[in-house]
């Protein structure tokens, strides 16, 4: 039956999945760095085009795959960042090859895995079936595990191992939650396929057993929350970011966390649809706030630059989860906006950091000083990125934070106070590090690095533009999604 379902895969929707899948196979077979790197970019671009076409023509939902306003946001974002990241990785990996951190064999593996990851994420986003979605997320986890461990250094393997164990436990919990959801749905929708299909689940969720849904959400929250990187389930995230290749850090922060968050949102909608079930918002708000403040404090003692930005990812994921937990059109809008802005900004930061680490030959911040003197473009790029991520105008994140804080303060002043405190703490840490890393007497090598600035400044440019002017269609689109999220 599944074959029958998957057969009309020739439409745009299928293309978004098939292009990376086939790409992965091709890249796995293809030797040679230069070609495969270019091809990687090309495939990513094709996927992006296919995803964009989803905006115009939207195929009817099938039993396995479907597109609606919500996941199309994520898909477009994912494919776009995947494209820019592949462009960045082309120049990054070249350098890694030169200094011999990677061998051609691993490189082939790397590119294949990259596309597999894209496939997995797109599948997770487009899946109309909670089981399929779970499979996709698991696949994504496994691929990223392999890529985190790719340097095969002591630290890399340790990080990958940590990521693997925690990830698979989390994913197991998510599966249990999924089963429970099925159990809850079965009495209403009957046995078999329908009880796992989003479109039907959402329609009928009001009839499900509320208690079961509550228990299910506990498992799902912890399961997918692990992938989102919410405290106290975050432990894998910093090391995985710090030890993997930088393009993967960018993809992790920019995309994979979003995919997991997307899954959470879906189930939140499910519960929101059921009046008897306890509102999931409280849990999300609590964990979000916890992650925000916790990550804010953790930022102060970081010595590794990539790990620091990983913690900042935790902080922002917490903020986004908080926003969605608060709910309401304004907060949801802000959450969506913040998520997109964070993906763009954080991946941009990792682009900069990747080149900086290559230029200075280290990731230890103590050894990186005065970047704006030694590498002006990279340095100022980093400054701009950090300023953006710290939520300073006129960049996009300020707008979303403005909406989140002010809308929260009107509804729950106390929460807003905590929120502001957390933001301020994180802000202080980021700026402290920034003023050390970007300014002062330059240390380390000042040799110019061969870097591709286009992806970096493309992202920052977008963030800046969004901070000043959001095009009306985008706004309308986000607003409809926000209403969808309830």
């Amino acid at each position: 039956m599944s074959a029958a379902e998957l057969s009309p895969a020739l439409d745009a929707l299928g293309a978004v999945l098939m292009i990376p899948a086939t790409g992965a196979v091709v890249l796995a077979l293809l030797p040679g760095y230069w070609l495969s790197a270019r091809l990687n970019v090309l495939i990513a671009f094709a996927t992006l085009v296919a995803a964009l076409s989803l905006l115009i023509a939207r195929p009817a939902p099938g039993t396995f795959l479907f597109v609606d306003d919500l996941n199309v946001v994520f898909v477009v974002l994912t494919t776009f960042v995947a494209f820019t990241t592949s462009a960045f990785s082309a120049s990054y990996i070249g350098h890694e090859l030169e200094i011999g951190r990677l061998t051609p064999r691993y490189l082939r593996f790397y590119h294949a895995m990259y596309q597999t990851l894209m496939f997995a994420m797109n599948l997770g986003l487009l899946a109309n079936n909670i089981g399929l979605m779970w499979v996709a997320v698991e696949l994504a986890t496994l691929t990223t595990v392999l890529m985190v461990g790719i340097y095969r250094t002591h630290e890399a393997i340790e990080a990958a191992w940590k990521y693997f164990i925690l990830g698979s436990v989390g994913i197991a919990l998510a599966l249990f939650g999924t089963i429970l959801v099925y159990m809850a749905a079965r009495p209403v929708l009957g046995e078999g396929q329908d009880a796992m299909v989003w479109t039907t689940l959402i329609k009928r969720s009001s009839g499900f057993s509320a208690e079961l849904l509550n228990v299910a959400f506990v498992f799902l929250m912890l399961g997918y929350g692990t992938k989102v990187g919410l405290a106290p389930l975050h432990a894998w995230l910093p090391d995985a970011h710090a030890e993997g290749p930088t393009p993967i850090s960018a993809v992790l922060s920019g995309l994979l966390l979003n995919v997991a968050l997307y899954a959470l949102l879906r189930f939140k909608m499910l519960l929101a649809g059921n009046s008897a079930a306890v509102a999931p918002g409280a849990l999300m708000v609590t964990m979000g706030l916890l992650s925000l403040i916790f990550a804010g404090f953790m930022l102060y003692r970081r010595r590794d630059i990539k790990r620091m930005f990983a913690y900042s990812s935790i902080e922002h994921m917490g903020l986004i989860t908080f926003a969605f937990g608060m709910g309401g059109p304004l907060a949801n809008f802000a959450g969506l906006l913040h998520m997109s802005m964070h993906s763009l900004t954080k991946s941009a930061i990792f682009f900069a950091v990747g080149h900086i680490a290559q230029a200075k030959g280290t990731q230890r911040m103590a050894a990186i000083r005065g970047l704006t003197e030694s590498h002006p473009v990279l340095g100022w790029g980093l400054v701009l990125g950090v300023v953006a991520i710290a939520g300073l105008p006129p960049l996009g994140i300020f707008m979303s934070e403005f909406l989140i804080v002010s809308s929260t303060f009107a509804r729950a002043p106390l929460l807003a106070i905590f929120l502001v405190v957390g933001l301020l703490i994180a802000f202080g840490a980021l700026l402290l590090r920034l003023s050390e890393v970007a300014f002062g007497e330059p240390t380390g090598s000042t040799a110019p690095v061969k870097a591709s600035y286009v992806p970096l400044f493309a992202h920052l440019g977008l963030v800046l533009a969004a901070g000043i002017y959001l095009p009306a269609p985008l706004v309308v689109w986000f607003q409809t999604v926000a209403r969808l999220l309830g």
Binding site: W161, K162, L166, V169, G170, L173, N214, V215, V218, F219, L222, T226, P232, L233, A235, W236, P238, V278, L283, F294, F297, M298, L299, Y300, R301, L330, V387, A390, G391, L392, P393, P394, F398, M399, F402, L403, V405, S406, S407, T408, F409, A410, R411, A416, V420, L423, L424, I425, F427, G428, L431, L432, S435, E436, F439, G440, G467, I468, A472, V475
Partner: protein, 668 residues
């Protein structure tokens, strides 16, 4: 239309910023960036004057489809905006003019040129903005660009620290303002100022406190002022002038706009808060200034003092209008706003002077200066004018606004509230005290820097600064004199502003004979700057005339007498610290726990004996050190979570799961 023109001006500034960014490689970029800024500011200045004089009703507005969607960016020029637009661009034009000369000596132009126009643009936008989002964006953009300017001389660790503290305090202020707007707008999300005006604010007391913190942290109210004396000196001098002379005024604008326009004063106890803080700010600011020997830092502390004076006026206005006493409220408000104008003038002037000195000698530390009046007479003259003005001495402008404030205080016995009855006189005394101390402080500043004998070769070999800088300084000196001599004109200019805010304005002044000013009624009090000035002028000329006619005219130059034993070494002169010593003994021992440790060499011992003065910053120790300590302690404590084993992390997950399941099983 008017607004559009203003925005055009801002756009020009932003374009200049981009241009500078593109051309920072070029050496001579400053040659056209600063003139461009000057012209833009001049245009905006013209617009502001026109708007203020015509006082169009309803005020011209403009909505751009940018910024927050479904609201857009609102801009508006009412009289209040117009007045502050005037102040902003007056300062901006002056600074740009000064920088045309000063900027040439900039060591790192690439780090100044792009941000300077952006800074100007940000300040203008704050004044123009008419919705919360645009306001906050502009506000924070202003902070951000000024932060970049503070960091422009980043190789000095001191400056980096200053920049860090500054940006953190700034974002703290912004967040509090954000919360305040959250309260003002309500959950509906009506962020346009017009909407905010229309709805009644939920928790006025809390909102006011938040606003006071938010704007106060930018204006430099004690205890939120700590960043100010660090950041202002760290920036290049023309930027310091802007930050002290203009940016703090923009903060005052924020306070006035929100409290008087958006909220409308209601409770009298608000004013107690404001007045008390302001009084403390005055005295603490000037006392701290007295303890300094870094010229620019001294000036920065004086900014704190003057902000205190301004806020005293605002607080009184709040009190009066809370009791519906409109005429006094108008007087107090006028005093405050007029002082805003004046302080912008003389503080910019003084920072220009400091810049010129820094430029000529490379020194900010007064202990290494002295005798500059010989080599830089014009700078000295301009600086002296500024000193006289800021010390509130007639016939210059500083005196007029303080005089008006005193008059406002004299009207406050009519206030029914007892707390105010007790508070206001005390604050009046503080005001008088700070005025007197300011005089002392500037005798020190001018005396040690410009008078006496040069203390270092650098100071001895100083040279007069360039034309553009001189033009800027002398122009501002002239303005100081004008607004001191003809205050009536400016007060009448402020009439529409106060009319709009407290529903009353001071009696028209320009119609009075001899251009004197009368706050309430002539029988009560009046002051005529022009006449005083003329009297002084006449009598001076008269005496000179008489003396030179009848007395002997010959002059013999000889060595200083100095009670018979002149000393060759200039080191024996009174230094800044020794000048401040008596005052430090009188006040400092309490306010700063100032202590002196004297290490006197025993007779026959060759080693130099030394005197060390320890001045502690109690504000920092009381408010900031604990917070910093707490944060770092918590960070340290939580940081252990980075070093757990996988198993321990798993147990975290496990515990979380069990906990939630328990929750579910018990509660649900």
């Amino acid at each position: 239309m008017l607004v559009a023109m203003a925005l055009m001006g801002v756009a020009v500034l932003l374009a200049a910023a981009l241009l500078a960014m593109a051309l920072q490689a070029l050496r001579g970029a400053s040659h056209f960036v600063y003139p461009l800024c000057f012209m833009a500011c001049a245009v905006l200045l013209g617009i502001a004057c026109w708007a203020l004089l015509t006082a169009a009703d309803p005020a011209p507005t403009l909505v751009l489809p940018i910024g927050l969607p479904w609201i857009g960016a609102h801009f508006r020029i009412d009289t209040l905006s117009a007045f502050f637009l005037l102040v902003t661009n007056l300062g901006g034009a002056g600074a740009s003019l000064f920088a045309i000369g000063y900027g040439r000596h900039e060591t790192a132009p690439g780090r100044v040129l792009p941000f300077y126009p952006a800074f100007l643009a940000g300040m203008n936008l704050v004044v123009l903005a008419d919705d919360a989002f645009a306001f906050l964006i502009a506000w924070e953009f202003m902070s951000l660009s000024s932060w970049a300017l503070v960091m422009s001389h980043h190789l000095d660790a001191e400056n980096r620290r200053a920049g860090y503290i500054y940006i953190v305090m700034a974002s703290f202020g912004t967040l509090t303002l954000l919360l305040a707007f959250g309260l003002l707008a309500g959950s509906g999300g009506g962020y346009a100022f017009s909407d905010i005006r229309s709805v009644a604010v939920a928790l006025p007391g809390l909102t006011l406190t938040l606003v006071l913190i938010g704007t106060g942290s930018k204006a430099g109210l004690v205890p939120l002022h700590v960043w100010l004396p660090l950041a202002h000196p760290a920036a290049p001098s023309h930027v310091s002038a802007l930050m002290s002379g203009v940016m703090t005024k923009v903060a005052v604008y924020g306070f006035v706009r929100i409290v008087f326009d958006l909220m409308r004063p209601a409770d009298w106890w608000w004013s107690i808060l404001v007045i008390a803080v302001a009084g403390v700010t005055c005295v603490l600011g000037v006392l701290s200034a007295l303890m300094q020997h870094d010229l620019k830092r001294l000036l920065a502390y004086h900014t704190v003092e003057n902000i205190g004076i301004i806020f005293i006026g605002l607080g009184l206005a709040l009190a009066f209008s809370a009791y519906g006493m409109q005429a006094p409220a108008a007087l107090a408000l006028t005093a405050a706003l007029f002082h805003v104008f004046n302080h912008c003038l003389f503080k910019s002037l003084l920072f220009f002077g400091a810049g010129a000195v820094l430029n000529a000698t490379g020194e900010r530390d007064m202990e290494h200066l002295g005798g500059l009046i010989h080599n830089m007479p014009l700078t000295a003259f301009a600086f002296l004018t500024g000193c006289t003005a800021i010390s509130a001495l007639p016939p210059l402008n500083g005196f007029v606004s303080e005089w008006l404030t005193f008059q406002a205080i004299l009207l406050s016995p009519a206030l029914p509230s007892w707390a105010l009855k007790l508070l206001v006189p005390a604050v009046g005394a503080m005001l008088a005290l700070s005025a007197a101390l300011a005089a002392a402080c500037f005798v020190k500043a001018f005396g040690v820097t410009f008078l006496g004998r040069p203390r270092t070769p650098l100071a001895a070999s100083a040279h007069e600064t360039d034309r553009a800088s001189l033009a800027a300084m002398l122009a501002f000196a002239l303005f100081c004199l004008l607004s001191g001599v003809l205050p009536g004109l400016f007060i009448d200019g402020l009439a529409p502003v106060t009319q709009g805010l407290v529903g009353a304005h001071m009696p028209a002044q320009t119609t009075l004979p001899w251009l004197s000013i009368v706050p309430i009624a002539e029988s009560r009090s009046s002051y005529n700057g022009l006449l005083v000035f003329v009297f002084i002028l006449i009598s001076t000329l008269l005496t000179i005339e008489v003396i030179h006619r009848f007395a002997s005219r010959e002059v013999r130059r000889g060595p200083a007498w100095d009670c018979g034993f002149p000393d060759p070494s200039p080191a024996t002169q009174y230094t800044a610290d020794s000048f401040a010593q008596p005052i430090r003994r009188v006040f400092g021992s309490v306010v700063f726990r100032a202590t002196e440790r004297i290490d006197m060499a025993a007779p026959g011992d060759a080693r130099a004996s030394r005197l060390t003065v320890i001045v502690r910053d109690l504000v920092w120790e009381a408010f900031y050190a604990p917070v910093a300590g707490l944060v770092s302690a918590l960070a340290e404590w939580l940081n252990r979570l980075q070093f757990l084993t996988i198993r321990q992390y798993l147990s975290l997950v496990f515990v979380a799961l069990i906990g939630l399941l328990l929750l579910v099983s018990i509660w649900l």
